[in-house]
């Protein structure tokens, strides 16, 4: 039965993971995502699962690697500084072709930074989490409902393409409460994990989970094979939301919590006759390049709004490819842009058109 429950974003991730058949969670406390651990510590024993607090983020990601290597649906979560620690393990997971979910409920950085909401790990998530040629599927929820539904989706995507997926949220989404309906999930058919290392049972050759290729040709071949899968992800799995873009002169581009602030600003500006809309990337990798390129071809200006010093704007500029000016409005360090600030920026651009 469809029933809405009022839940914190962090708790919605946790419950959705269990709903999606993830029975193994490895974590380490860090604000503002600790509720995921706390929730799962209560729930996992009741559903026959495991919530294990590791001695560090480094250990937690490697436990996740072990669980994934043995064929289990597994996850870990952290916030920005903790993701930096996990990045070694994430690289090994990517290099070993293992599926799992990594949740980043972002806070301000660099360094210890702050504990307030931020989107300043965009580069890290889409460009630089761990060494080597690798990609993560990066999903950016913008509501508590999506914290849940994209968690479920992330597991299926990871299993389908045998690669790690990241849910890139922020402290506001983690801490805020909204109604969630857990009956809304769609489940995919995912492939069997015949590659898993959990004992050959005398029935098959041994499986090896490994990211080491000492021969450069073999390493190149393995990467090329992986990039073929990446290409398939880019082809099939792009997700985005368009909001009032049809007739828009100015199109905002924003993800996560920022996209919601933009929607409020757009509604206010529309009331004054300014034709403005929003493209909200839901997958940050693969990035919705095609749609953004076509929007840039018909809009008069783009405005990227982010809670960092301007990171996603690089992808916006690449996709727009010079067809129209790309403006940028940012707040950082844990500051959330207000609706008024974004609305003023929209008015400023409208006046210049």
């Amino acid at each position: 039965m469809a029933q809405k429950v009022l839940m914190k974003g962090n708790e919605a991730i946790a419950e959705a993971a269990i709903n999606a058949g993830c029975l193994y969670y490895f974590g380490y406390p860090i604000t503002p995502q600790t509720e995921i651990s706390e929730y799962l510590a209560k729930r996992m024993p009741k559903v026959g699962g495991l919530c294990l607090q590791a001695e560090s983020e480094v250990s937690a990601i490697n436990m996740t690697l072990g669980a994934a290597a043995a064929g289990s649906r597994a996850m870990t979560s952290s916030s920005s500084p903790g993701i930096s620690l996990k990045s070694e393990g994430i690289s090994y997971i990517a290099g070993s072709d293992l599926p799992c979910l990594i949740v980043n409920v972002q806070r301000g950085g660099p360094g210890l930074g702050g504990i307030q909401p931020s989107q300043s790990d965009y580069y890290q998530a889409t460009r630089g989490v761990g060494h080597g040629d690798l990609r993560l599927i990066v999903l950016a929820p913008s509501s508590v409902q999506e914290m849940a539904s994209l968690t479920a989706e992330a597991f299926d995507l990871a299993d389908t393409y045998r690669m790690p997926a990241m849910l890139l949220a922020d402290g506001a989404l983690g801490q805020m409460m909204e109604p969630v309906d857990f009956s809304l999930f769609e489940k995919r058919e995912v492939p069997e994990k015949a590659w898993a290392a959990n004992g050959h049972g005398g029935k098959r050759k041994k499986n090896i989970i490994n990211s080491l290729y000492i021969d450069p040709q073999e390493l190149e071949d393995s990467i090329l094979a992986r990039y073929k899968r990446y290409a398939e992800v880019e082809e099939k799995e792009v997700k985005y939301e368009e909001f009032m873009t049809d007739d828009a002169d100015i199109v905002l581009v924003a993800f996560g919590i920022t996209a919601r602030i933009c929607k409020s600003a757009i509604t206010a500006a529309r009331a004054d006759g300014i034709k403005v809309g929003l493209l909200r990337p839901i997958t940050l990798w693969p990035y919705p390049k095609k749609i953004l390129n076509s929007i840039a071809g018909r809009a008069k200006a783009l405005l990227t709004v982010e809670m960092n010093m301007g990171q996603m704007v690089d992808d916006v500029r690449l996709a727009a490819n010079g067809q129209c000016p790309v403006h940028l409005y940012t707040r950082t360090g844990g500051m959330i842009p207000s609706v008024d600030e974004v609305e003023n920026k929209i008015r400023e651009i409208a006046a210049s058109l």
Binding site: L6, G171, S338
Partner: protein, 177 residues
């Protein structure tokens, strides 16, 4: 129709509880709702606040600069949020703890000596619920019965005293306005 509210006071006054309860009741009505708490060290006795947005439409920003309603339960919160209330909006104060009055003419103000009333009625710790009683009467966002049923509905029978205190506090605030 969209209503934006900020609840603010000191940690331990039940500010987050008040916000959550309001959000829960609105969800029960079938409205869209967001509850955005302040988080971090505030939890341990500093200032505490949260933002609740209730709407018939999809909710954009869950964070609000100028709320329709500000519920303030200490002086720093009054000083911070009273000036931000939208024109035509409402500020509700625990007048036991806030000795100031609003001098704005474009907003409505409600002064409830909630902490005093709580202490007088053996309801220490329930000042926030007295305020909620006043809030629902004044704004008409919820009926008394639906708010009460969600307030006390999840309290087990074994804690009848808690149930009773909540109901008593809500009624005091409701009847006062």
């Amino acid at each position: 129709m969209t209503t934006t509210m900020i609840f603010a006071g000191s940690g331990g006054q039940g500010i987050q509880f008040s916000g959550k309860q309001t959000a829960k009741t609105a969800m029960h009505q079938g409205k869209n709702v967001t509850f955005l708490p302040s988080y971090g060290p505030e939890m341990r006795g500093g200032t505490s606040n949260c933002t609740v947005v209730i709407s018939d439409e999809e909710i954009g920003s869950p964070s609000v600069t100028s709320p329709d309603v500000a519920v303030v339960m200490n002086l720093p919160s009054f000083d911070k949020f009273e000036p931000r209330v939208k024109a035509g909006g409402l500020v509700i104060c625990d007048s036991t703890l806030i000795d100031k009055k609003s001098d704005r003419e474009d907003i409505d103000a409600l002064y409830i000596p909630a902490s005093e009333l709580a202490n007088e009625n053996g309801l220490t710790g329930f000042a926030n619920v007295i305020i909620l009683g006043g809030l629902i009467k004044k704004t008409g966002l919820f009926t008394y019965d639906e708010f009460l049923s969600l307030l006390t509905g999840s309290i087990p029978e074994s804690r009848a005293a808690l149930k009773e205190k909540n109901e008593k506090a809500l009624k005091i605030g409701y009847d006062l306005v």
